[in-house]
Symmetry: C2
Subunit: 324 residues, 2 copies
C-alpha cells in the first residue's frame, strides 16, 4: 500500500483557470485588457493547462453596450490579448444553452484561436446541450459538458442527462456545484457516477466548485482523489458570489513540477489585491446560508451589494428560511 | 446501504467553541468583558456543548499587566462573566505544558466553575502532559489531551505519545493541525490512528483545525465522517493567524436539532464584524504558504501586521523557500 499518495502526481491531471469567465459574472465582464492580459501571462508562466477567457453568449440577450467583451469573446477581442497564442496554454470559452447564438457565434476551429468550448446547461436543457456539443465538436473543438446546479436536479434526471452525454463527443463531463452546497461525500458520489457514465467512451471527469461554505478547494481535492482529471480554479478564487476554488491553493497542493506557483502570487499581488478594492467576492455568511439551503446566490449577492443590508445576517437568515 | 448519512446525526458528537481562547492569541487575550459575555450567551443560545474561555497559563511567563484576563482564567474573572454557569454549556480552559503553573493555578473542581481542562503539548512534552492530565483528573475535571503540531512530529514519536496517553485519564485525544497544513487524507489517517490507541480505554477523538488553506471546515467534516466526536470551532473562525473552523459553517452542517444557528449569526453581526475592524485573521496568502510548507505561522503573522509587507506576497514566498 502506498502511504502518501498526495506527494506524487498524475500527469493527466489538467487545471483550468476561470478567473475572467466566472469573475466576469460580478462586473458584467467589464475587465480592462490589462487585467485579462495579466491573467493570461500568469497562466502561461505558471504552467496552467487551460484559460477560460469568457462566454460565447448572445449579443441580443447581452447587449454589447451593457456587457464587456468577455461576455461574447469575439475573435478580435481575444486576439488583442493573446495574439496567435503561441504557448502551451489552451484557450476556452463557455457557451450556455438558452443564452447563446452558438450556430453562428462559434466559428470553425480553423478561424479561431480558441481550443475548447465548454457547454454549460441545466439538466432540462440537455437536448440543446447535446446539439451544442455536436456542433462544437464538428467545428473542430475539444468540448466539455458542464451540467450546472446538479445539487438541485433529481437523481433520475441526472442519470438521464449523463446517458445522453455519454454518447456525445464531449471529452469531459464536469461536476458543477453551482450553489456551493455539496459536501465531500456528495462530491465523491457524483465523480464516481460521472466516471461510470463516461468510462465506455473514454471521457474524463472535471470539477467546478463554488466557495459558499469554504469548501471549493476541499471539494476540488476530493474530486481529484476520486479520479477527476480536470479541475477549475481562479485567481484568489475570483468568481460569482462566494467565488471558486483559489488557484493559489490548488497549485500549492498539486505536485506536478510543471506548475510554478510564484507567478500566481505575483499576479495576486499585482492584480487581485487592487481588484478586491473594486469588486467583492468570497465566502461571506450570506453565501454560507444560500449554500446550506442549496439555492441560487442571487439574493445573497443583492444583500452584499446593498450597504444597508450587508451586515444584517440575521435579517437575511430570517427571510431565507421563511422563503424556502 | 444508507445513501445520505450526512442528513442525520450522531447524538454523541459535541462541539467546542474556542473563540476566546484561540482568538486571544491575536490580541494577548485583551478582550472586553462584553465580548466574552456575548460569546458565552451565543454558545448557550446555540446549544453548543463546550466553551473554552481561555488559557490557564503562568503569570510569571505571561504577566498580568501585559496579557488580558483570558490568558490566566482566574476564577473571579470567569465568574464575572458566567456567574455559577447554571446552563447546559460546559466551560473549559487550556493549560500548556511548559507554560503553566498547573499544580497551583488549576483549582480543585469543587472550587471552580470550569468543567474541563484541555492539556496542550508538543510531542516532546508528553511526559509533563501525562502528569498534567493526571493532576487535572485527580482534581475532578474532565480532561482532554491536545497534541499540538502533529504535522511536524515523526510518526514513531506520535505513536509513542499516543501509547502514553492511551493509559491516561484523558477522555479525549484531539487531532491538532496547528499549522493548517494537513489534507483530508492525512486527517483520516490521524483520526483512525488516535481511535486505535484510544479504543481500549473508551476515549473519544477530537479535531482542532486551522484554516491556512481554507481547509479547517472541510478537515473538521472529514474527521467527523471518520468518527471524531469532538469538534472545535470559533465564531467567524476567529483564531491565531488564519483562524479556525468557522462555527457558523459547522453548525450549518450538523443536523442535530439541539443546535440553533440563528444566535450564531446574531453574534457574528453584533460582535464579530466590529472585531474584524480591529484585529485581522483569516486565510490570507501568507498563511497558505506557511501551511503548505508545514511551518509555524509566526512569520506570516509578522508580515500581515506590517503594512509595508502585507501585500508583498512574492517577497514573502521568496524568503520562505530560501529559509526552508
Amino acid at each position: 500500500m502506498s502511504t502518501a499518495p498526495w506527494i506524487t502526481y498524475r500527469p493527466e491531471l489538467k487545471v483550468l483557470d476561470c478567473t475572467v469567465r466566472d469573475g466576469g459574472l460580478i462586473n458584467d465582464h467589464a475587465f480592462e485588457d490589462g487585467f485579462v492580459k495579466a491573467v493570461y501571462d500568469a497562466c502561461v508562466a505558471a504552467g496552467i493547462d487551460y484559460m477560460e477567457i469568457g462566454y460565447k453568449n448572445s449579443k441580443q440577450l447581452f447587449a454589447k453596450d451593457r456587457f464587456g467583451a468577455w461576455r461574447h469573446c469575439d475573435e478580435d477581442d481575444i486576439r488583442r490579448i493573446v495574439g496567435e497564442n503561441d504557448t502551451n496554454l489552451k484557450l476556452t470559452a463557455m457557451a450556455d444553452a438558452g443564452k447563446s447564438d452558438w450556430r453562428t457565434d462559434i466559428l470553425p476551429k480553423d478561424k479561431s484561436v480558441l481550443d475548447c468550448i465548454r457547454v454549460a446547461f441545466y439538466v432540462h436543457q440537455v437536448s440543446e446541450a447535446a446539439d451544442m456539443i455536436k456542433d462544437a465538436a464538428d467545428k473542430g473543438y475539444e468540448v466539455t459538458a458542464n451540467l450546472m446546479a446538479v445539487s438541485t436536479a433529481q437523481q433520475a434526471e441526472v442519470d438521464q442527462a449523463l446517458e445522453v452525454l455519454a454518447s456525445s463527443p464531449a471529452s469531459t463531463l464536469v461536476v458543477v456545484d453551482s450553489f456551493g452546497s455539496l459536501y465531500a461525500e456528495q462530491i465523491e458520489r457524483l465523480v464516481k457516477k460521472y466516471q461510470d457514465y463516461g468510462r465506455a467512451t473514454g471521457k474524463e471527469v472535471g470539477i467546478h466548485a463554488h466557495n459558499n461554505q469554504q469548501l471549493a478547494f476541499a471539494n476540488t481535492i476530493e474530486a481529484i482523489i476520486h479520479g477527476a482529471n480536470r479541475a477549475d480554479a481562479s485567481l484568489a478564487g475570483l468568481g460569482r458570489g462566494a467565488g471558486n476554488c483559489p488557484m493559489e491553493l490548488l497549485i500549492g497542493f498539486l505536485r506536478n513540477p510543471k506548475f510554478s506557483i510564484r507567478p500566481i502570487y505575483q499576479v495576486l499581488q499585482d492584480e487581485m489585491i487592487p481588484m478586491s478594492q473594486v469588486i467583492e467576492w468570497g465566502p461571506f455568511p450570506q453565501y454560507h446560508m444560500t449554500g446550506q439551503y442549496n439555492t441560487h446566490p442571487r439574493e445573497a449577492m443583492a444583500a452584499r451589494a446593498d450597504e444597508s443590508r450587508r451586515d444584517a445576517y440575521v435579517d437575511f437568515y430570517d427571510k431565507l428560511i421563511s422563503d424556502v
